[in-house]
């Protein structure tokens, strides 16, 4: 009748049109993203001549400077295996996804690896916080989750997460070993703790308190991995009169803590978790002051030291590193990558020619894996923790050396004991049979 109505009609039409357009575009967009193909074999990610495995790693972001080299070492070892016949004739296709140490991205990237790339298994997925975020997803999709790169005790929950197996000595065990060394060698001193505000700090302090008792720590301070300022925490440790600080910190924060302590004039004996004390890593942060600040620092190790040139594993990995990863020196992070990759290949080899996910899990649960560490693994049907102990080390002039026997313990309240066994030697050819 009038303009109002007619234009109303035309607007209604416009609405319908845009509605349809919305519908179509969303449908197209959503379907366009998909359509990833995958093999139809019984075991996802396994073909006649390849095994696809994946890992989420911090190639960018806050922890990348220290850890991006780890997955390169893993890739180098897999390339070495591929050039030497592969795993039962299959070559390893190693897919690394960068999650920037951000759990949200880890969730996305792990989904990409499992659902789109259809990897057979995850190997060495990095970091406590990031990987914890995908444990449920891994369980739902029944993906073998070998050796997350972290010592969180969360990996050892076979009832809830049957597909996840730890590798590194967990932080409770390491905390117990560090604490019992402190108890023996620094009796009567005021002991405190400093740690990262996640499982690294929490599990570690739990281990320390198991040995020293609930009131064994005078003070316990936590830092946030995204806040590079630890003045407040170090100040409190200083005010509490701490003489020994057991530190569950990543290399960057160990360096920060040492530097801040020096600035504040806080002199204490630092006893640092294995993953936070690599002299090469600390030198990267502390530069010219590294030697002065790290002298006498006590730590521990569950792998042979990268500087131990006579060790069969170090010889092996140095050779491989020189050929496949030449611009990178063999420091303890790089060694971690090699050793972990070796263990993964050992498990894949043991799972046999007819590779299935169930078969791989069975091999891991059998407890037959030996690995390149100083101690055996804890693996059994109802235990998914990795190495069971460490040996104490001390840094002098930027070189770590082992200063104690190897100690082993459990992740409960069992005793810390000397390990009498002999560490395994690297196999001829560098690949497990």
């Amino acid at each position: 009748m009038n303009r109002t109505l007619r234009s109303r009609a035309s607007r209604a039409w416009a609405r319908t049109a845009t509605g349809i357009a919305t519908t179509v575009t969303i449908a197209v967009t959503t379907t366009a993203c998909g359509g990833a193909g995958g093999g139809s074999e019984s075991a996802p990610g396994v073909t006649g001549d390849t095994i696809k495995i994946g890992s989420t790693q911090p190639l960018t972001g806050p922890v990348a400077p220290g850890y991006a080299k780890m997955s390169k070492a893993m890739a180098a070892y897999f390339n070495y295996v591929n050039d030497n016949g592969g795993v039962h004739g299959r070559s390893i296709d190693f897919v690394v996804e960068d999650d920037g140490y951000n759990p949200t991205k880890t969730a996305e990237k792990t989904r990409k690896l499992v659902l789109k790339d259809k990897v057979f298994a995850l190997v060495g997925a990095f970091g406590t916080a990031p990987h914890t975020a995908v444990l449920d997803f891994i369980r739902q999709n029944k993906v073998p989750d070998l050796f997350p790169s972290s010592g969180s005790v969360s990996w050892n929950q076979p009832d809830i997460y049957p597909d996840t197996f730890g590798w590194q000595t967990d932080y409770i065990r390491e905390g117990k070993v560090l604490a019992s060394y402190v108890k023996e060698n620094f009796a009567g001193k005021t002991v405190c703790a400093f740690g990262q505000g996640d499982d690294l700090g929490a599990d570690g302090v739990k281990g320390v308190e198991t040995v020293l008792g609930k009131d064994g720590l005078k003070a316990s301070e936590a830092y946030t991995a995204t806040n590079p300022d630890v003045k407040a925490q170090i100040g409190k440790l200083q005010a509490s009169g701490c003489e020994v600080v057991v530190s569950f910190s990543s290399p960057g924060f160990t360096a920060l803590a040492l530097g801040t302590s020096a600035k504040l004039g806080f002199k204490a004996q630092w006893v640092v978790v294995s993953i936070g004390s690599d002299p090469v890593g600390l030198t990267g942060y502390l530069k010219d002051d590294a030697a002065a600040l790290t002298n006498g620092l006590i730590s521990s190790t569950f792998l042979p030291l990268p500087t131990d040139a006579d060790n069969s594993w170090i010889k092996l990995f140095t050779t491989i590193n020189n050929e496949y990863n030449e611009e990178q020196g063999l420091d303890s992070i790089v060694l971690y990558g090699y050793a972990l990759a070796y263990s993964a290949v050992e498990a894949l080899q043991a799972a046999g020619k007819d590779l299935t996910r169930e078969g791989l899990l069975k091999v891991l649960g059998s407890g037959d894996l030996v690995g390149p560490g100083l101690t055996p693994f804890a693996f059994s049907a109802d235990d998914h923790s990795g190495f069971i102990g460490t040996a104490m080390t001390r840094i002098t002039d930027l070189k770590a050396e082992i200063i104690s026997p190897v100690y082993v313990t459990d992740d409960g309240d069992g005793p810390v004991e000397k390990y009498d066994g002999v560490a395994p030697q690297a196999p001829k050819g560098g690949i497990s049979k």
Binding site: E108, D136, D198
Partner: protein, 358 residues
């Protein structure tokens, strides 16, 4: 910057036709919401296991973006802290569901539904508080204040780590799926996408009607001219606070859906980049337009996906939003929805009418 203008397009004096129109618009909003839901469901049922994750992300983004577009386009307030409001919803979800987890690490669907409602309510309350502060601020000061809220929340979460488990965050157990879906071999991601689609449908319907109600008109009046609105007897702070609270509530819902999809919450997930991503979705889609917010969310999620596959620098998505924002502001200030409406208007007859409404 042009806003869509529902207040001026209807005849103010028509009595009963106006009422009919209102009922009419409620029906139409219902139909539009049903269409959105249907498209979403179609996507959930057809796409593969990997892509369904993108659908779930998209629904989380869309919930937040729709609320934000109502706040910015509908009420003239800006917020750079919506990611923090999402965090409030997400943490509410995690804290409520944790004690209700079964031995199999699942939670009953009813608990999930309750948790979603609770997330909305809690975020609404937080939004009220922030809205009270925000209502005193204008322009860049408001942007600054909401920005600092966005930065503060991750800090608070790590400070009170005995409640929120610090940087590592809290797990959010997946819902125990109905047997029928279990039998259809659905993974939790798909079920969460389904929940997200329903959340988007409900949010769309509610917001579309609020926009056309007296409340929505008051918000728009405040946006257009505060003095004129005051002269008409409106309380400026009250309208601004309610708008902020409603917008916050949808952010809480979006955050809860995101947490459900990610199966966990942690401070890293709700950083400034998320706030900026949602803001980009709103502007690219068309300020003030609900459909535009969905468009924008789709584009942002799609961009993230594509750029992530290309293995480029992790800051590139943020940079690309910035670039897109500039392009959109220069070339199509009405955003995607504005372009579509202009296109739609042009086809039947040349019309001088505005960009589309919802």
């Amino acid at each position: 910057m042009r806003h869509d203008d529902t207040t001026t397009t209807e005849h103010p004096v028509l009595g009963s036709p106006a009422r009919r129109l209102l009922t009419h618009s409620a029906v139409r909003n219902g139909l539009a919401a049903a269409t959105v839901t249907a498209v979403g469901l179609l996507a959930v049922y057809t796409v593969d296991d990997f892509t369904v994750g993108s659908v779930a992300m998209l629904t989380a983004y869309a919930c937040v973006a729709m609320g934000l577009t109502v706040l910015i386009g509908g009420n003239g307030q800006i917020s750079l802290g919506h990611a923090a409001l999402m965090a409030v919803g997400a943490y509410t979800m995690a804290l409520f569901l944790e004690p209700r987890t079964t031995a199999l690490r699942e939670v009953p669907v009813l608990s999930v539904a309750l948790a979603l409602v609770l997330a909305v309510l809690v975020t609404l309350c937080v939004g009220l508080l922030i809205g009270l502060a925000a209502a005193r601020l204008r322009g860049p000061y408001l942007a600054g204040a909401t920005l600092s809220f966005g930065v503060a929340v991750p800090g608070l979460v790590t400070y009170f780590d005995h409640w929120f488990n610090g940087e590592q965050g809290l797990p959010v157990p997946p819902p125990d799926m109905p047997t029928a879906l279990d039998n259809a071999l659905w993974l939790p991601d798909r079920f969460v996408a389904l929940i997200g689609v329903v959340a988007v449908g409900v949010t769309f319907f509610v917001l579309a009607n609020v926009k056309r109600s007296a409340v929505g008109r008051h918000w728009a009046a405040v946006r257009d001219d505060e003095i004129a609105a005051q002269l008409c007897g409106l309380s400026i702070p009250r309208e601004q606070v309610t708008a902020f609270a409603v917008s916050a509530a949808t952010a809480g819902l979006g955050g809860a859906v995101l947490a459900l999809f990610l199966q966990g919450v942690n401070p890293h997930s709700f950083d400034l980049r998320l706030s900026l991503g949602v803001l980009a979705a709103v502007v690219i889609g068309g300020l003030g337009s609900l459909r535009g917010a969905i468009w924008g969310s789709a584009l942002v999620v799609f961009l993230q996906k594509v750029l992530a596959d290309m293995d480029v620098d992790e800051n590139l998505p943020s940079a690309s939003y910035g670039l897109l924002l500039i392009v959109v502001m220069l070339a199509a200030p009405g955003g995607i929805q504005g372009l579509l409406s202009r296109l739609g208007d042009r086809l039947p007859r040349r019309s001088t009418h505005h960009q589309g409404d919802n």
